[in-house]
């Protein structure tokens, strides 16, 4: 008995010795870089956070690479966008990662739970409509207020999993929120003059962004979500842009700009590569940068006149 305790003590000491001083309290995996940015801002040095997908990837189409399993295997928490954004790849990873913890609500945070979700279908959803998400539009993180909701949900979850870090997490959250509030005022004043402006977007990724800044989606380059452009629909969009004087076409970086460029050449609308996620280009380092970048791009395009 005594020997057992001694061995345990030695082992404990060894383990303690093996762990570096700066070891993170929690290993967090997020499905997207935006969630990683927000989670990292709240967790600070107490957590280690890894995003499975990169900011320049189409989050609907991420390959379930076996190397992701190794990251997920040691995770204490998985933060996902939810709303079926990751339905093509996350379930397969969850089933194979040998980390049964992540299958329990305590270690799985669906970030959409407290966010403002738009376009919840009030009709019978069928695939005839394309890739319509039956629970609503999953690109909700593009509303900065939803960024705040996500940050609060993450903070609550981190406190739940690591109560010792409560004060650190609370302080980080309040720092994040005040930085966000400051920035929101700045963004609103830059975007204010353009309220009511109509835009065309490639995929229906931007309802929350447009809603927040009072912009209007006049149409989409895709005839149906997830269905590539067709000649007749492209013609409709050209006519629509001409009739309604739509100044810009916003294209997510992972889509081909061939059709948008063609539409632009026929109408004079400007094509903007619009980034929906952190890390889409290297200078979008965090969630705040994401809006900075996009708003700078958009105001420059709109302010420059047609």
């Amino acid at each position: 008995m005594k020997t057992g305790a001694f061995v345990l003590l030695i082992m404990g000491a060894l383990v303690g010795f093996a762990v570096p001083v700066h070891a993170a309290e929690l290993h967090v995996v997020t499905t997207t870089s935006d969630l990683a940015s927000i989670t990292g801002a709240i967790g600070g040095s107490r957590i280690e956070v890894v995003s499975l997908s990169k900011g320049y990837q189409n989050p609907h189409f991420v390959d379930a690479k076996p190397s992701y399993l190794l990251v997920m295997r040691k995770a204490d928490l998985l933060v996902a966008v939810g709303m079926e954004l990751e339905v093509g790849w996350l379930p397969a990873l969850l089933q194979q990662c040998r980390n049964p913890k992540l299958l329990t609500p305590a270690h799985y945070l669906d970030a959409s739970a407290t966010a403002k979700i738009l376009e919840k279908p009030t009709y019978q959803v069928t695939r005839a409509l394309g890739d319509v998400h039956p629970f609503g539009n999953p690109h909700y993180w593009l509303d900065p207020e939803n960024g705040r909701a996500i940050a609060r949900a993450v903070e609550a979850k981190l406190v739940e999993l690591d109560p010792d870090g409560r004060s650190a997490y609370e302080a980080n959250l309040s720092a994040f929120e005040s930085r966000l509030s400051l920035k929101e005022a700045e963004w609103r004043s830059s975007m204010g003059p353009y309220a009511g402006t109509k835009v065309i977007t490639y995929h229906n990724s931007w309802p929350n962004f447009l809603d927040y800044f009072g912009l209007v989606a006049a149409g989409y380059v895709e005839p149906r979500p997830g269905i590539p452009p067709s000649p007749s629909h492209t013609l409709d969009i050209i006519n629509l842009i001409t009739a309604q004087q739509v100044p810009v076409i916003l294209v997510e970086p992972y889509f081909d700009t061939k059709t948008p460029d063609f539409i632009a050449s026929k109408t004079g609308a400007k094509v903007l590569t619009f980034y929906p996620s952190v890390g889409g280009v290297p200078d979008i380092e965090d969630y705040i940068d994401l809006f900075d970048h996009d708003i700078k791009l958009l105001t420059a395009a709109l302010g420059g006149g047609r």
């Binding site: 379930a64 190794l70 379930p91 089933q95 992540l102 299958l103 590539p228």
Partner: protein, 381 residues
């Protein structure tokens, strides 16, 4: 009490109406989230007072999906169907968590030949020490290709080596499968399986005079399988998945005659994540060596296949496959062009050239149509 029950039922009904849970086999976590969704509006339930409590919710029904696989044949290859059109199968999938500890995945194939359970497994998820455990009927982990359900392979036919050794459906049987994900810094997985000797696999059975395969093996004759597989990312775009497999069974239990198969497989993929939906490349090769013990002398067979597939536009893929198998020697080449209107259906035009044992040349034109309805399944990797 009854009122709150009916409110619950109504809320659940609303949730169910909001659409089928598209998560094929999504784990319990999101389901729990769904339960937590606040019943925002104090809606007046349209249930007459005194109604008997209804079934609580459709949301607990298993995910139901169906994959259809249809074929058309032209040409003179006697190895293929002699009909012009054939509906190969409708594969019905039923998937759900059983309880917090396990999930069930059942695939039933309905075809002209009848109804067959393709796969039906219970998988225990909450196991310690990086272990995975499955029981039921499943496709054996021999190589990578064998695990893929026929409608989901790029080909209408099966590679000649796979078909001649493992049968028209591939290796599948009933038993137990354990897997272990090693703690190495790269992905390294070990699968061990013990099943009833493989029915319908020519390597593990005796061909009767009518051409049917009679399964070898009785209660004490099991099929054993081991597989070691690994994965590496070379770059963000390029990766390799490779493995070694071994299967051991009997083909004549009376005479205690065993069959063994060894396999090596490698799959190289390229896909730029920035252009993931437009361009991709896959190269898969599987090589087999099989030995069938016979009274007197053993039969050794080598065979394999290799294919490349290139996605050159969002909805278009083209591929080329080469086949080789011995005893007797047979070679084949398959070329195909596949159009994917969406990720839920595909129409493939395929040309197959076979050179059989009697130096006979066969040329066939094939058409494969597959479609998938039901919740969104996982993209295959």
């Amino acid at each position: 009490m009854r009122r709150s029950l009916s409110i619950l039922a109504f809320t659940a009904g609303l949730l169910a109406f909001a659409g089928p849970s598209s998560r094929v086999g999504f784990p319990p976590a999101p389901a729990a989230c769904a339960q937590e969704a606040p019943p925002a509006e104090p809606a007046q339930p349209p249930v007459p007072p005194g109604a008997a409590p209804q079934q609580a919710s459709n949301i607990l029904n298993p995910n139901l999906s169906l994959v259809g696989n249809m074929a058309a044949y032209a040409g003179n290859d006697p190895a293929l169907s002699d009909r012009a059109f054939e509906f190969l199968e409708a594969e019905i999938g039923l998937q759900a968590a059983i309880d917090p500890f396990s999930r069930a995945d059942v695939f039933i194939a309905v075809s002209g030949e009848g109804v067959e359970v393709e796969e039906a497994t219970v998988t225990w998820l909450a196991l310690p020490a990086s272990l995975g455990l499955r029981a039921g009927k499943f496709r054996s982990s021999f190589g990578k290709f064998n695990r893929t359900h026929p409608p989901e392979t790029p080909f209408l036919d099966r590679p000649k080596a796979a078909e001649r050794l493992f049968g028209e459906e591939g290796l599948a049987s009933v038993g137990l499968s354990a897997s272990y994900l090693s703690p190495t810094p790269f992905y390294l997985n070990i699968d061990l399986e013990a099943t009833t000797n493989w029915d319908e696999a020519p390597l593990f059975g005796e061909e009767t005079e009518s051409g049917e395969i009679e399964a070898g093996g009785g209660r004490s004759d099991l099929g054993y399988l081991a597989r070691l597989s690994a994965y590496h990312d070379f770059t963000e775009e390029t990766n390799i998945f490779y493995g070694l497999s071994w299967a051991h069974g009997v083909h004549d239990p009376g005479a205690k005659l065993a069959s063994d198969a060894w396999g090596a497989d490698a799959t190289v993929r390229w896909k730029d994540p920035r252009r993931a939906i437009y361009r991709s490349f896959t190269w898969q090769t599987e090589a087999y060596y099989a030995r069938r013990s016979e009274v007197g002398d053993d039969t050794d067979v080598r065979g394999g296949f290799s294919y490349v597939e290139y996605q050159f536009a969002r909805r278009w893929r083209t591929g080329l496959r080469g086949d080789y198998i011995e005893e007797p020697i047979e070679r084949g080449t398959l070329a195909y062009l596949t159009f994917w209107p969406s990720e839920f259906s595909a129409l493939s035009v395929q040309g197959l050239y076979s050179r059989g044992p009697e130096d006979r040349d066969d040329l066939s034109a094939l058409l494969k149509l597959t479609f998938n309805i039901g919740p969104h399944g996982a993209h295959p990797f």
